[in-house]
Amino acid sequence: MRRLIENRFGLLALVLVALGALYGVAFVSRPAPAAQARPQAVRAPVESVTAVCPAPSGSRVSVVTPADPERPETPGSATLSPIKAPAGKSGKGGDDVIDRPGLLWQREIAAGGGPLVVDATGSMAAGLESAQTARETSGTQRGLAGVRCVEPGAESWFVGPGPAAAEMTLYLANPDAAPANVSFMVYSGEGPVLSERGNGVVVKPGQHRVIRLRDLAPSPLIMALQVSTRSGRVAAAVKAVLGEGRGVDWLPAAAAPATRVVVPGIPGTAGQRELYVATPGDRDTSVRIKAVLKDGSYALKNKETIEVPAGSASSLDLSTGIGGQPAALVLESDVPIVAGLKITGTGVRQDVAFTAGAPSIDLGSVVADGRAEGKQTSRLVLSAPFAAATVEVRLVPTKGAAPDPVEVKLPAARTKELKLTPPKGSKGGFSVVVRPKPGSGPVYGGRVLDEGAGDGQMVTAQPLAMARIWALVPPTVDSPGAVLP
């Protein structure tokens, strides 16, 4: 030992041995590469929902919350009340209270009066769906006109005929406690329309406004309308009245601008189909159109693309391509676009219906209003444009037990149309709950309601919207480091 220390190389050797040992320890203890497990968001039922039916007077309002055995039963109720300032928002006598999930609630609303607000909490909130449907057999308003009661939001898009082609009316309602500072933007066939009268309006809490779009932009034949709020939220809806004998319906809210838009829910009935596409950006684009039909998905002959100049809207008649067969359209573009489609019924006196770009219904969808009385037919048009899917379709009656669900297999790139037959013993309407099975590809769909009246078919349509049953609760951490980018 002593010799080792006194040797010139002794200390060096000792140090090298120690270093080697430490290297070994560090090498052996080095942990294996661990895959970073991404924390998963947790599904939780939605606990409160507010929806506004824009103009229910003279319409039938349907409200439904599907029952779900997965969810714990919690007390909850939905209240229907005329819109009013939040100060007086305490369930007064005249309000309708619904507290039974799993059953459809329907009522004909008397003419006159403003928007209705549906406020739901607890178990009535998860998946609450409401709609208003009007049926007129004569006059300018002849036809079926239905619309989902929408949640107030910060932005909505509507695509359809312009104020020069139809009487377009914008309904705004603000059920919240804060004023909504709303602005509009109209994209016409000739480009964005800059209104001289200013394109903003403030909707105070509890207020509702009805705006004729002709006053904002009188000339467009086709248009895309963006309703957005700088602050606050607003529920917006647009009604199109094409004129005596030419039809009436509400425009469904279209999906926000995206480079791929699916327009689902085109029924297999005869009649005109007109596609509207608009791009709000500042680049011209050529939109590729693909139809998803019963027997496959392909581009339509001579209608492969539609050119849309920057900041404007274009239309294309697709009657010869998809008329008479259930379909969905997949539109792809290099710049974000919004899209809508006009369905025209047959007969001497026509009626129209509108569908629009819609998101896929990953967590399921609910349609409040379905009818099968007399000559009325309800159809469900389901498409799986990208991958095969299996969906479960369940009907919810107004009373009594619900019938067993039906399973529908959708091969990839196919569209299927289901004619909905009401459960036995059910009177009046029914609701439809559509839920993709786990492992399914994205499913898009729409519900079409038509009535074969003597002087012409009456029709209304709505694309399936994702039901607000579940919300994804992200894992949340209190971390002071959140202040850093």
């Binding site: 010139r8 190389f9 200390l11 060096l12 140090v15 090298l16 120690a18 270093l19 430490l22 290297y23 070994g24 320890v25 560090a26 090498f27 203890s29 080095r30 942990p31 590469p33 661990a34 970073q36 991404r38 924390p39 998963q40 968001a41 939780a44 039922p45 939605v46 606990e47 409160s48 929902v49 909490t121 909130a125 949640e151 107030p152 939001g153 910060a154 059920p175 919240d176 406690a177 804060a178 709020t229 700088r230 602050s231 606050g232 939220r233 919300a471 994804l472 609760v473 992200p474 894992p475 949340t476 951490v477 209190d478 971390s479 002071p480 480091g481 959140a482 202040v483 850093l484 980018p485």
Partner: protein
């Protein structure tokens, strides 16, 4: 024709008296009359006087008689001489040159207005040293000779000078003037009586001259406490100061009096504080007592002023010119600081009587020879040059960080550092408040490093960002300077110190610290060389170094608790190895290691309760800042992983040189210790990086590097030997130098080319949007959400961004859980009353910085109770529309906390005083005053010791 009467006043001065008397009698101009006065001497002075002057010429007075009184007594009894009579006053410890009187009288003949003349006074022991050539006084009553301390007389001041006053030692005064002015004031038995007399003489229109041809050697026995003073009970220092103040205040006109009073009250308080810090409480007491004695006897002062009223105002302008100019105070302060840094007592200065006899500066002789300017002296120091070079490298590397920080209102932050907002007072409030309103509220005591940062911010004019930027961004040059300064005693070979400092400053740890925003490690890196330097003195048993070490260790531990563990283990090993060798090592070690524990007590208990926190440092603990799979080669090459670290080969040169140092046989002990520290640090680094979770092995690797650098640099002087040799050895030396310098050069080059980019940024915006800050009521909060990696991170800010240190506070668990659930519900968009829950915690705004995730935006927009205020590419802001209640702070009994804070403050001051350097060499023991007479043998022994010390002073 002149007649000269010499009066020699003796008081216990037999030691000097013999020579004095011989000198008086040997004058080339014979004296007409000589009178000796013995003020009750007990050492045979009276006998000596009688032998020299004859019994008839000696007067014996009581022991308590002062100098002035004695002269008065003689002149009262002595009839005036027929001719123009001069009185020559001499102390018993003042031996005049044989030609002194002749020269004085010659000068008096040249100037008929001259009434008082004084010789040039030199030191009794070191006879070349100048003591006085006329004395003046500053406006604060300080005596000023206008000479440098220990200035040698080379004729540089020679000539006849018109001065404010001369000393009574060797003073030649016309007897009629004496009578006219009624002589020395008996109220001033000792000190400054001369100044008073000369002042009055000048006011009366006479002249006071200093004649350099006349020389006298003066022992200043009373002032230097070579003998006891019997004429006053007080300490000579206090007496000196009191009389100085008194004379000044008695002689200046009223306006100047008021100014002098103010100046002295403030000045004395400050000086007393300085004295206290310098651990000279006796001096502080004297300072205050002197002032109190003057102010406390207003009647005495008024009487004195009344007596001096005549001509005072008219004479003032002429006298004012003779006072020390005000600028001299600044110069004295500079001298003081310089002296303090050089290790002298902090408040010694030229004005003190005994300044000339300070034997502590013997070894500074060579420095007196180089008379270079301060700037030149600084620039020629390798340490300063190194600092400047490192600063330039730092500026070049941080070119992306600094402009944003300096130009706009960008905030420094990122990595482990929250955006630095707030001021020193905010930090201070955070430290002392019992209840922290920040976030969800917390009752935990703020971590102690907040106090350190508050102190640093206060130094940086209250700007926390400046303090943090200097410490964090400037940690490379600071570490270099610290390493260079700390190795002064360890390594004598300057190039080796430069290499060590540069390598240390550019370690991978340092650049990693800057990129990761690790303020705590940055501070530890700057302090680490100081630990090493102080540790060597602690091992040597220095108590003062131990206190300093403890204090600095407490600072480092507050930021990085692991430092304490490392130091404690090394200290334990040192105690085992050195405890038996040197006395007092154990005690010093206990002081050094105990001080941090005491200063950081409650916080350390918290840390000990959660042992995982020992491995963590101050600031945010972000797992993205560390490399969880740090390779073994990285660890061995001192690379801690994470952002901002150079490639692994950058430190290869350092390791190679340190290994080579093992081959040299001399001083193997130091090398072995250095390598031991390295291996120990490495082991700890491996442990930290493997078990620490979010811990970063920076500090243990810095420890390892320190050991390695000391081992390598300690042997570097052998390079010089090898270089002097020829052939292979010379080549080897060159090779080693190249390899050694490759490490810092490569590190600097890599750092500059890559730039100090990383999580740390200088352009962060305030996390609280301006709108939210403006529209929030006090106490209302802004909830910040940031989705990242599938998680939503949130933090609640009350009106301002989080301060450094607030991330370490803990909120009550149930409140946090409730709040987290509410935030999750809010971010999910499922509705319900989550917003109300948040509002009940005082949330007024919800902000999402950066591009807002569409799902999150949807979720927030779907909340009826939230109103969107703005949404853009830079972020979104929502406002809670309903009622927001700010939770009231709970009533807390913070007495324990308050008490602890006071105790901590007191302990800190105590440690500071114990640690701060006093005078390095003590003044000659002056225990004569304090020593009671019965302890005479001991005091004699001390006197002997004192003499022995004096004898070493070169003659």
């Amino acid at each position: 024709m002149h007649s000269v009467t010499a009066i020699v006043v003796a008081h216990d001065g037999a030691r000097w008296l013999k020579e004095t008397l011989a000198a008086v009698l040997r004058q080339t101009r014979p004296l007409d009359r000589v009178v000796g006065v013995d003020n009750g001497s007990r050492d045979g002075s009276g006998k000596l006087l009688t032998e020299a002057f004859g019994p008839g010429n000696v007067l014996t007075l009581p022991r308590s008689t002062g100098f002035g009184e004695a002269v008065h007594e003689v002149l009262r009894r002595l009839p005036p001489a027929p001719a123009q009579e001069w009185v020559w006053l001499l102390h018993d410890d003042c031996a005049p040159d044989p030609h002194a009187l002749q020269a004085l009288l010659w000068a008096a003949e040249q100037d008929p207005k001259a009434a008082i003349l004084g010789p040039k006074l030199r030191d009794w022991l070191d006879r070349r040293v100048l003591l006085e050539m006329g004395v003046t006084v500053s406006r604060s009553g300080r005596r000023d000779t206008g000479l440098e301390p220990r200035e040698y007389d080379q004729g540089q001041h020679d000539g006849i000078a018109d001065v404010l006053s001369v000393s009574t030692a060797g003073m030649l005064i016309r007897r009629d003037v004496w009578d006219e002015l009624s002589g020395l004031d008996p109220a001033l038995p000792l000190f400054r009586d001369d100044l008073d007399l000369c002042w009055r003489a000048r006011t009366a229109g006479h002249r006071v001259l200093n004649v350099s041809d006349a020389v006298a050697w003066h022992a200043e026995a009373s002032a230097r406490r070579r003998r006891r003073i019997a004429s006053s009970e007080q300490h000579p220092r206090r007496l000196d100061r009191r009389n100085g103040l008194f004379v000044l205040m008695a002689n200046v006109p009223f306006g100047a009096l008021v100014r002098a009073l103010l100046r002295n009250v403030i000045g004395s308080t400050l000086r007393a504080l300085l004295f206290l810090l310098a651990k000279q409480p006796a001096n502080a007491l004297d300072e205050l007592a002197a002032l109190g004695s003057v102010i406390g006897h207003p009647w005495r002062l008024l009487r004195a002023r009344k007596a001096r009223k005549k001509g005072r105002k008219q004479g003032w302008p002429a006298i004012r010119r003779k006072l020390t100019p005000p600028g001299a105070a600044l110069r004295r302060l500079a001298d003081m600081v310089q002296g303090f840094l050089a290790g002298a007592g902090p408040v010694d200065s030229a004005g003190r009587h005994h300044a000339a006899a300070d034997p502590g500066q013997e070894d500074d002789g060579d420095e007196l020879l180089t008379d270079s300017g301060g700037v030149q002296r600084m620039l020629s120091s390798p340490g300063v040059v190194l600092f400047l070079i490192l600063a330039v490298i730092t500026l070049a590397a941080e070119r992306t960080l600094l402009p944003a920080l300096l130009s706009s209102d960008g905030h420094l932050g990122g990595g482990a550092l929250v955006p630095v907002t707030g001021s020193a007072s905010d930090l201070w409030r955070l430290y002392i408040e019992d209840h922290h309103a920040a976030g969800l509220g917390s009752q935990t005591w703020a971590p102690p490093y907040v106090a350190v940062l508050a102190g640093l911010s206060a130094v940086a004019l209250g700007k926390t960002w400046l303090a943090v930027a200097v410490v964090l961004l400037g940690c490379v040059p600071l570490a270099g300077l610290s390493a260079y300064a700390a190795t002064k005693r360890m390594i004598s070979y300057t190039p080796a110190r430069v290499w060590l400092a540069a390598t240390y400053a550019l370690l991978p740890v340092t650049t990693g610290v800057i990129a990761g925003g690790r303020l705590g490690t940055a501070i530890v890196i700057v302090l680490l060389p100081a630990y090493a330097a102080l540790a060597t003195r602690v091992i040597a048993g220095s108590r003062r170094a131990a206190w300093g070490f403890g204090l600095l260790l407490a600072v480092g531990t507050a930021f990085v608790p692991l430092v304490y563990v490392l130091v404690a283990i090394l200290g334990g090993l040192a105690a085992v190895s050195f405890g038996g060798i040197r006395r007092g090592v154990r005690r010093s070690l206990v002081i050094g290691l105990g001080t941090p524990v005491v200063l950081l007590l409650p916080w350390l208990v918290q840390i000990a309760r959660e042992p995982g926190r020992i491995l963590l440092e101050s600031g945010l603990h972000d797992a993205r800042l560390i490399d969880p799979r740090l390779g073994a080669d990285h660890l061995l090459m001192l690379s801690p992983g994470g952002p901002g670290v150079p490639p692994v080969w950058a430190t290869a040169g350092l390791i190679a040189v340190a290994l080579a140092a093992l081959l040299l046989r001399r001083h193997q002990m130091v090398v072995a210790i250095g390598w031991g520290v390295m291996l120990f640090g490495l082991l700890v680094a491996i442990v930290v990086s493997r078990v620490g979770g979010a811990a970063w092995p920076g500090v243990p690797l810095a420890f390892a590097a320190t050991g390695l650098l000391v081992a390598a640099a300690h042997q570097a002087h052998r390079i010089a030997e090898f270089r002097a040799a020829r052939g292979l050895r010379r080549l080897g030396a060159m090779l080693i130098v190249v390899v050694a310098f490759a490490t810092p050069l490569a590190a600097a080059a890599l750092w500059v080319t890559r730039g100090a980019h990383g999580p740390l940024r200088g352009d962060l915006s305030d996390p609280v949007p301006v709108l939210a800050e403006l529209q929030s009521e006090p106490g209302e909060g802004t909830l910040l959400l940031r989705p990242r990696d599938g998680r939503v991170g949130y933090t609640l800010m009350r009106g301002r961004g989080p301060l450094i240190g607030e991330s370490d506070l803990e909120s009550p668990r149930d409140a946090t859980d409730r709040f987290t659930t509410a935030v999750a519900g809010l971010a999910s968009g499922r509705g319900s009353t989550y917003v109300e829950t948040l509002a009940s915690s005082g949330v007024r705004f919800v902000t999402v910085p950066g591009r807002v995730d569409p799902a999150l935006q949807q979720a927030l927009d779907s909340q009826p109770a939230l109103v969107r205020v703005s949404l853009s590419e830079t972020g979104g802001l929502w406002r809670v529309a309903g009622q927001v209640t700010v939770p009231a702070p709970p009533a807390t009994a913070g007495t324990l906390h308050r008490g602890w804070l006071w105790a901590q403050g007191g302990l800190l001051v105590l440690v500071l005083i114990l640690a701060s350097p006093g005078a390095r060499t003590k003044e000659p023991e002056g225990d004569h005053i304090e020593a009671p007479p019965e302890e005479a043998p001991r005091s004699r022994r001390r006197a002997k010791e004192g003499r022995a010390k004096e004898d070493r002073v070169p003659a």
